[in-house]
């Protein structure tokens, strides 16, 4: 079950996230599962594999905004890096960043269950 303590344990900046939700705990917790929607992460991964940096940037940028708003720092860090690489059109090795992104996303997903 998702609680503030779970999020704190995960490494989220709960105080910041809550402030952005006007300290409405229920509202904040309700939004978290949406940020873990698998389709974002798959789209980013696919964009990197086919080198569609423009499309990749759109999705990564969007996810970065969500994660930042909810203060999910451990996932935000790799997604931010990926976003900047996509913005610059960097044709490099994204595997480590992808791995980290998935790892953190899955970690929280598991903690919630």
């Amino acid at each position: 079950m998702l609680t503030l303590d779970v999020l704190k344990e995960f490494g989220a900046n709960v105080a910041e996230g809550l402030e952005r939700c006007m300290d409405d705990e229920e509202f904040y917790l309700e939004l978290i599962p949406d940020a873990l929607d698998e389709s974002y992460y798959k789209s980013i991964e696919e964009a990197a594999s086919i080198k569609d940096f423009k499309q990749g940037f759109e999705v990564a940028h969007s996810l970065k905004g969500i994660l930042a708003n909810l203060a999910l720092t451990p996932i935000l860090e790799p997604v931010s890096e990926i976003t900047e690489l996509f913005r610059a059109g960097t044709d490099g090795d994204y595997s480590k960043l992808m791995e980290k992104m998935w790892e953190q996303r899955n970690k929280l997903k598991n903690m919630m269950e």
Partner: protein
Amino acid sequence: MEKILIVDDQIITLKMTSHILSAKYETICAMSGAEAIELYQKEKPDMILSDLNMPGMSGFELQNTLQGMYEESIPVMFMTADNSDDTESQGFENGAVDYIRKPFRADVLLRRVEIILDHAKQVQGLKRAAETDPMTGLLNKASSQFEIGKACGKAHGMLMMIDLDSFKLVNDLYGHAMGDKILIRFSEIIRSAVRSQDIVGRMGGDEFVAFCQYVFHEGVVAEKTKYINEELMKSAKEYMGEDMNIPLGASIGAVRVPEEGKDFLTLYQKADKALYTVKQNGKHGFAIYSENALDDETEEVAGTGIKREMSIFKERNRGKGAMNLSNDQFRLIYRFLARAEVNYHRENKIALFTIDSTKEAKDGAEPADVLVELICDSLRSSDVVVKRSKNTVAVILLEASPVDTNMVIDRLITKWNELDNGMTITYEVEQIE
């Protein structure tokens, strides 16, 4: 409560932003530029808070599109996760009032929105003050020209110049405070005679202008003229007393748009010509400008010099019998004859008839109205009559010897008595000097 349109393609950001702002404001949410344009039209929000990077239409494009569509300054604040200074600079050049970087703190967002809305309110207040006639609250001359000019350029309808007849007498006889009261009431009556979406302004003094969309028929203008005149007279009697005998009223010169033009100046000049026709034909009425009427007018005043001037001065639609004038017109004639008397010693007389009765005449008319009608029918076209109050009537008899005067008055009294209305009249006669 102020209304804020929030635009973001990201549902979570949209939800969070709306959650923050809904504590103090009414929020409307759109997930794309296209949806935002639709909602703006319907909701007319006080400000827009838009994400900058959205697929399909960016925040900049949304702002440009709306400003192009509505030709008004719309307060827009952009939200962006972008750290680029160039983006920020482009936004300000575009007319953004502020920026906020995502993720933002709730208290910071609320404070910045509050500042923007306060500023917008101040600008609106100043704009309203600059556009409004302070006495009547209607649009002032410059704004009337601008707003009506803009509307006439793209809409169909009727432009009306509305003039308050005999207003000067109110100021002269009852003072300027009463004059102001009448002007304010007159503007309220005009406002109530048109629909809320019609544009009404004060051009200056006792002259007003209104543009009514989708009004084409003479009957509608006639109804409005009747309504304005009736309401004005009711209010005037309420303010100045039942004995008030100033012939207050409204004259309306109207012109059809776009048949007679699309620009304000052309239409205004044509409405003014129509108004002139009303003024020439007894006031308190209306006329709609038409090219044919203009031709007649042109023919009448054709020529140059004195003939043209005489044509302009000459009385139109002259009826039989004495001239029934307003108090100010009567006073002018009296003064002229008194001046002439100094040099020419003519037998010009003034008679004052007083009706001794508290009764009302038939059909709710005042006794003096009945006597005026009787005098108009009985006297010569060179004689002049005016209703002074509900019981008194004054008459100027031109070139009337004592014998003629007695004969005329005997005839009037006989005719009055034949009415058998139970009211008696007394009179006094004096030489005009």
